[in-house]
C-alpha cells in the first residue's frame, strides 16, 4: 500500500501569509519545490517573496512564458490556438446568456411563497435545470479542447512534447509543487497545454486561491461585487480533477454575499454533491489523497446557504 499524497489548499496570501504552515507539515518532504505561477501572467517570474516564505529552493516551471514563446513562434499552432480561444469565448457567451435566465428564475422560485407541495418540486427542478446546463456546457468546452488536443498535445506535436519533457525533468528533481493564485483561466489554460495534470498526479502540492481552484474537476468563477453588480457563478471549464469533490471559493468574505443565504444556498445545491468550501485569507485545508484531514478557518456552505465549520 502506498502512502497518501498530501495536498494543501490555502486562501489568498494577502495580507497574511500561511504558505509556511503547509510547508512545515511532515507530509511535504524536504527538497526543492516546483512552482507554477502562470496565473500571474507577465509577472510570473517574480517569485522572490514566495521563495522567502517557502524557505526551500524553487524550480520555476514558467508555464506562461513557455506557452507565449511556443505559440508566438509557431504560426500553425498560433492560428489553431487563436481559433480555439475564439470558440471558447463564444461558447461561454452562449452559456452565460442561457444561465442568466435560468439563474434568475431559480432565485425567483427560491424566494417565492405558495403551496409547499406545489412549490418544492418547481424549486428542485429549477436548480436541476441549472445543473443540467452546467454539465452540458462543461461537455461542450471539453469537446473543443479534445478537438484541439487531437492535433496539439505532447503525444502528437513534437514542439509541445519537447516542452513537456523539460517540465518533467524539472519536476523529477522536486519534492512538491506550489501553485500560486492569479488569473485562474490563464493558469488552467497553460497547465492543460502542457498536460500538467498527468505530470503531478502523485506529487505532494500546495496551492492557493486560483491554484486551489485549478485542482478541482470544474472551475467555478464567482464575484458578487463587480462594478456592475453581482453575476451568477459560471462554470468555466474543467480543472485538473485532483480534488474532484470540492468547489473552492477563495476570498469568499470579499467576493461572495455570504449573508445572502438564498444565493449561497443555491450555489451549494447547484454544485452538489461537490462541497462548496470557502478559502479566506489565513485559512488552510489539507487532504490525504482526496480526504480532507486538516481544516483551519475554512467553511463549507450547506444547502440552506449557511457557512458551517468543516467537521472532520
Amino acid at each position: 500500500m502506498t502512502d497518501a499524497v498530501e495536498r494543501w489548499v490555502l486562501g489568498p496570501q494577502r495580507p497574511e501569509q500561511n504558505i509556511s504552515r503547509a510547508f512545515s507539515s511532515s507530509g511535504l518532504a524536504e527538497g526543492p519545490v516546483a512552482v507554477i505561477s502562470a496565473g500571474w501572467q507577465d509577472a510570473e517570474a517574480e517569485l522572490d517573496h514566495v521563495g522567502e516564505l517557502v524557505g526551500r529552493p524553487l524550480s520555476d516551471l514558467r508555464l506562461y512564458q513557455r506557452a507565449e514563446r511556443l505559440v508566438q513562434g509557431d504560426p500553425v499552432l498560433k492560428e489553431a490556438y487563436r481559433q480555439r480561444q475564439d470558440r471558447l469565448i463564444e461558447l461561454q457567451r452562449f452559456y452565460r446568456r442561457r444561465m442568466r435566465q435560468l439563474s434568475a428564475a431559480a432565485r425567483e422560485l427560491q424566494a417565492a411563497e405558495g403551496d409547499p407541495a406545489l412549490l418544492a418540486p418547481e424549486r428542485r427542478h429549477s436548480i436541476a435545470q441549472l445543473r443540467s446546463l452546467d454539465t452540458h456546457h462543461l461537455n461542450r468546452v471539453e469537446a473543443i479542447h479534445r478537438d484541439f488536443e487531437q492535433q496539439f498535445s505532447a503525444a502528437v506535436y513534437p514542439a509541445i512534447e519537447e516542452q513537456v519533457d523539460q517540465i518533467r525533468s524539472l519536476l523529477d528533481g522536486c519534492s512538491a509543487l506550489l501553485i500560486t493564485g492569479g488569473n485562474v483561466v490563464v493558469l488552467v489554460n497553460r497547465m492543460r497545454l502542457f498536460g500538467i495534470g498527468d505530470l503531478v498526479s502523485n506529487l505532494p502540492l500546495v496551492a492557493w486561491s486560483a491554484g486551489a481552484m485549478s485542482l478541482t474537476k470544474r472551475i467555478v468563477l464567482f464575484h458578487d461585487y463587480t462594478p456592475h453588480g453581482r453575476r451568477s457563478p459560471e462554470v468555466m471549464g474543467a480543472g485538473l480533477g485532483i480534488l474532484p469533490a470540492h468547489v473552492f471559493l477563495p476570498d469568499a468574505r470579499r467576493r461572495l454575499r455570504t449573508r445572502d443565504a438564498l444565493r449561497t444556498g443555491m450555489l451549494a445545491r447547484r454544485f452538489s454533491p461537490d462541497t462548496c468550501v470557502t478559502l479566506d485569507n489565513g485559512s488552510a485545508a489539507s487532504f490525504h489523497d482526496q480526504q480532507m484531514v486538516v481544516a483551519e478557518g475554512v467553511r463549507r456552505i450547506d444547502k440552506r446557504g449557511k457557512l458551517q465549520k468543516v467537521v472532520l
Partner: protein, 378 residues
C-alpha cells in the same frame, strides 16, 4: 426655515456673537433632509444663489434674517444630489459672483472654481481618491505632426503600471484629456481601477484642443485627425490590440459630440464610445436656440438622427438630470439602441460638471472595458 436658523432667531433677532457661534458650529450649506439652506453673511443690497441647473430658477434670492447681516435661501434637493453654485452679491450698482465663503468644498474646471453642495447621502466615490496601494501608471508625451490641421499636436499618453512592450493593450482616446486629468482625476481613477482589476491594463491617449469649440463641434478635420493621424501614430509607438473591440474614444460636453462624430464619420474604427453629457443639440423643426457655436453641432446631429449608421458596437452614456442637455441625451438613447448598439445609459442627480463626469467613470470604463476581476483570485 432651517431648524438651526429658526432656533438662532427664536427671539426674533440674534446678536453677532450668537451668529459667530452658529457659524463656527455648523457646516454649510445646511442640509436638513431634502432642504438645503445656503447662508451668506455680510452687508449687501441683495444676494442670489446662482447654480445654473435645469429645473431651478437661475437666480434665487436670499432673504435677510431679521435685521441681522445673515442671509439665507432654502431649496429642495433630492438625496444623493450634487450641485455647483456661486453667490451673486449685489451692493448698490455692483454685482459680484463669489464662492461660498462658509463652504470649503470646491470643484474646479477650466473656467475657475465653484462651490459644491452635496445633498444628503452623496459620498465621493473611494476609487476617485489616491490610493497609496494602487500601482501608478506613467504619463508620456507624444508629438504628432498633423497634415489635417497643418500643425504639431501634443498628446499625453497614459501607460499602465507594469507596462511591457511585448504585451498588447486596449486603447482609449480621451477628448479634453488634460482637463480629465486635472478636474476628474482620471489618472488616479485609471490607477485604481486597473489595480483593482476592474478594467484591464490599457493605454490611454489624452488629447487636448486649443480650439475645442470649433474642432469638437463635428469638425471633420478633427475626426480625420483622430483616425488617420493619431491612431496610426499611437499604433506605431505603442503595442496596441488591433481590434475595434479593444479601441474606444470618449469625451464630455462638446467632447461627447466630437466622440460621436468621429465614430460616425469612421464607422468600424472604434468599438467603444464613452459619452458624458454630450452637447447633442438638434432641431426637429425651426432653428435651434443655442447660439452660433452650436450651428455645426445641430447640423451634424440632425444628419445623425436621420442616418445614425452604427458608429460603435458598445456605448456608455451618462448625463446629469440637472443639465439642460438631459433632453438631448435622452433623445439620443433610442436612436442608438435602434441600430442594435449595446448601450448602457445612466443618469445622475448632478449637473454639467467635471465631478459628475468623474463619478461616472468607473461604471463607464468597466462596462466598456471589463477587467479580469472575475477571473483573478489572488
Amino acid at each position: 426655515m432651517n431648524p438651526g436658523l429658526r432656533k438662532l432667531f427664536r427671539d426674533g433677532t440674534a446678536d453677532a456673537s450668537a451668529i459667530d457661534t452658529f457659524i463656527s458650529e455648523n457646516q454649510f450649506p445646511l442640509v436638513d433632509g431634502r432642504d438645503i439652506t445656503f447662508v451668506w453673511r455680510g452687508e449687501a443690497t441683495n444676494v442670489y444663489l446662482r447654480c445654473w441647473i435645469s429645473g431651478l430658477d437661475t437666480a434665487q434670492p436670499f432673504q435677510r434674517l431679521s435685521e441681522s447681516d445673515l442671509w439665507a435661501v432654502t431649496i429642495e434637493l433630492p438625496p444623493e444630489s450634487r450641485i455647483e453654485y456661486k453667490f451673486e452679491v449685489v451692493s448698490g450698482d455692483t454685482r459680484q459672483l463669489v464662492l461660498d465663503p462658509l463652504n470649503e468644498v470646491r470643484a474646479h474646471d477650466p473656467f475657475g472654481a465653484n462651490s459644491v453642495c452635496q445633498g444628503a447621502g452623496y459620498r465621493r466615490p473611494g476609487w476617485t481618491l489616491e490610493d497609496p496601494l494602487a500601482r501608478s501608471g506613467t504619463l508620456k508625451t507624444m508629438r504628432i505632426r498633423s497634415r489635417v490641421f497643418g500643425d504639431t499636436r501634443t498628446t499625453r499618453v497614459y501607460l499602465p503600471a507594469r507596462f511591457r512592450e511585448n504585451a498588447r493593450y486596449p486603447l482609449l482616446v480621451v477628448h479634453d484629456g488634460d482637463d480629465y486629468l486635472k478636474f476628474a482625476q482620471l489618472k488616479t481613477v485609471l490607477d485604481n481601477l486597473i489595480t483593482g482589476l476592474e478594467i484591464p491594463s490599457m493605454v490611454v491617449a489624452l488629447t487636448q484642443s486649443d480650439d475645442r469649440l470649433s474642432e469638437y463641434a463635428a469638425d471633420k478635420r478633427h475626426a480625420d485627425y483622430l483616425v488617420e493621424e493619431l491612431l496610426p501614430g499611437l499604433s506605431k509607438r505603442f503595442p496596441l490590440i488591433d481590434d475595434p473591440a479593444a479601441r474606444g474614444v470618449m469625451g464630455a460636453s462638446f467632447g461627447g459630440v466630437a466622440t460621436l462624430h468621429a465614430a460616425w464619420r469612421h464607422p468600424g474604427v472604434f468599438g467603444n464610445l464613452l459619452l458624458q453629457s454630450g452637447s447633442y443639440a438638434f432641431s426637429d423643426l425651426g432653428r435651434h436656440q443655442r447660439g452660433p457655436v452650436f450651428d455645426p453641432v445641430v447640423e451634424f446631429m440632425n444628419r445623425f438622427r436621420e442616418a445614425p449608421g452604427k458608429p460603435a458596437e458598445r456605448v456608455y452614456m451618462s448625463c446629469g438630470i440637472y443639465e439642460s442637455l438631459i433632453y438631448e441625451n435622452r433623445s439620443l438613447l433610442p436612436k442608438l439602441q435602434a441600430q442594435g448598439i449595446d448601450v448602457l445609459y445612466e443618469e445622475a442627480r448632478d449637473a454639467h460638471n467635471w465631478e459628475n463626469w468623474r463619478d461616472r467613470l468607473r461604471n463607464g470604463l468597466s462596462w466598456l472595458y471589463p477587467g479580469p476581476v472575475w477571473m483573478v483570485y489572488e
